[in-house]
Amino acid sequence: MGFSARALTAAIVLGLIFALFAAVFMAQFLPLEKPLHRTFWAGLSVPITWAWASLWLFSRERFSRGAWILLSVACGLLLLAIGGMQL
């Protein structure tokens, strides 16, 4: 199977969206009293979640273009919605 720059970009972008999505939940719902602590825990989680999610996604044998687009849009919208609620 040849190299697909699109699959690589999609895996990295989607991995980032997953990681930010998880981090937003951590920043909001971690049972810690100080928002500063939630901020740092959420921030620290991003590189690890991002690396794991991108690697997992890029290792998939089959992942149709439609699924990439659907998942990207869904995660993006969720992220925007959560961010919007906070603002």
């Binding site: 920043a27 500063l36 901020t39 991003v46 690396a51 991108s54 690697l55 290792s59």
Partner: protein, 523 residues
Amino acid sequence: MSDQKNKQRAFFQGLMRSHKQLGAALGIFIFVLCFSGTVSIFHGEIAIWESAKLSNAYGPVAGRFDDAPIDKIMQRAIADFGGEDGRDVEVFNVRQDTPGQRFLVSNTHTESDEAWHLSYWDGSTGELIAHQQMGISKIVREIHTDFYLPSPWGRYAIGVLGVIFMMMAVGGILIHRNWRRESDQLRFDQKDRHKWSDLHKLSGFWALPFHITIGFTGALLGLLGVILIMMALVAYGGDQDAAIADIFGKDPKMSHEQAPILAMQPFVTKAREDMQAGFNPQRVTAVYPGDKNMFVLVYGSYPETLGIDSFAKYRADTGEPIKFVDYIHDNVALRVYSASVPLHYATFGGPMMKFIYFALGILSCLLPATGLYLWLRRRPFDWQARVVYWGLLAVPVASAFGFAGALFVKWLPAFTSLSFAASSIWYSGAAFVLGLLFVAWQAWRGDNMQAGFVQSMALSAMLLALTAVFDIVLQASQGFSLWAPQAWGTDVVLLSMAALAFYLKQRLQLKSDVADEAVVLAG
């Protein structure tokens, strides 16, 4: 059960494919990052090596930072850089170069030209040793921290590469399923492919914790700023002011009302009292010196802890604290973030730790280098291969050229009336670009990739070794009694790099000789 096995096999095949494809797509960027980072471990030392004046300034070690003449140094820096009325200085900071060394290093930011001015001072007397801009040390560091891209995009790109480096290191180990057999296997006497493949696996396996640590901390340093802003907006319910005030404190704005430049020394003592027991100040910054709203930050570390950036911030006129940020005693998450700085830059454990990091850094360089070399030797020397060839050799060869250029810039002022203190970066930079062009010419005109590697390694080894040897000889003309450890340490590093380049050249040449012999025999 069979389905389970098939799924497992497909997963590992996918991992293998993604590891190879990621490596082929981004390997040269990761290599450049690893190489420049490995050299930049000695960034402070190389900066001193680059100046004949600083290289010859060994002396008694400075005492505690609390007793250092920091206000005398600030007054002198403002007099030198602040313009006629001294009001052009926006930020001034001074720090111990390395605890226990002679130098205090200051950075003065001037408003009119938006520039930082670097100066070295005697830590005991506060006398100026040199106003010295960095040359090759800055070039290599800028490549590592920003890829010379506009701020902050370069830093973000490098943060992303940190994440990808982690992905590749972990993915590589997951696909390396026969590690019990292969973890100590280095087949130098068999096929050429085995040699580089074994080296790739060994450098990945034995330095895995280092690769993950460097990737993770690099990603944090590159990206955490922007990520923290996003997370703070969520955690603080969208209240940006509350988030900034809680994380950094609310800084006074410049008032443009002139006021006497207040002393920083009392704040160093005050910070030691105000922070937790054991706080050890190592750096102090004055913002808007000479303005009514001047404020002071005292940074320091705690003994037996990994972390450096805890700080106390005060208004200079009233002495009123603005913010105390204690990364060590506040929360584990802050402590992990704080540890990422010394863990990435090897600023703990003294010079020995730097040499350990240097050795591990070379293993990090070997990972993408051997991986790409294996990829290159399987394909014709087409345009893609030529681009990868350039990407792999450009920065190491250019650095060797840059060091040679820096040697001229360093020693010419000692024997002539020339001075390069403020322009060394242009001359070292010109030599660096010459190196980039040399490899580009090789990649464009060369027919044989392997012969090109041998030629580049031979040239780099020669340049690095001659630079170190000439530096030692020229130093002998000045005498060795004042030779700073940072300067001779850099010569040791240059000689180590020359030896490594020569070793690689020999291994590569061995293959060429065998191949030539085979051709002759076949003929």
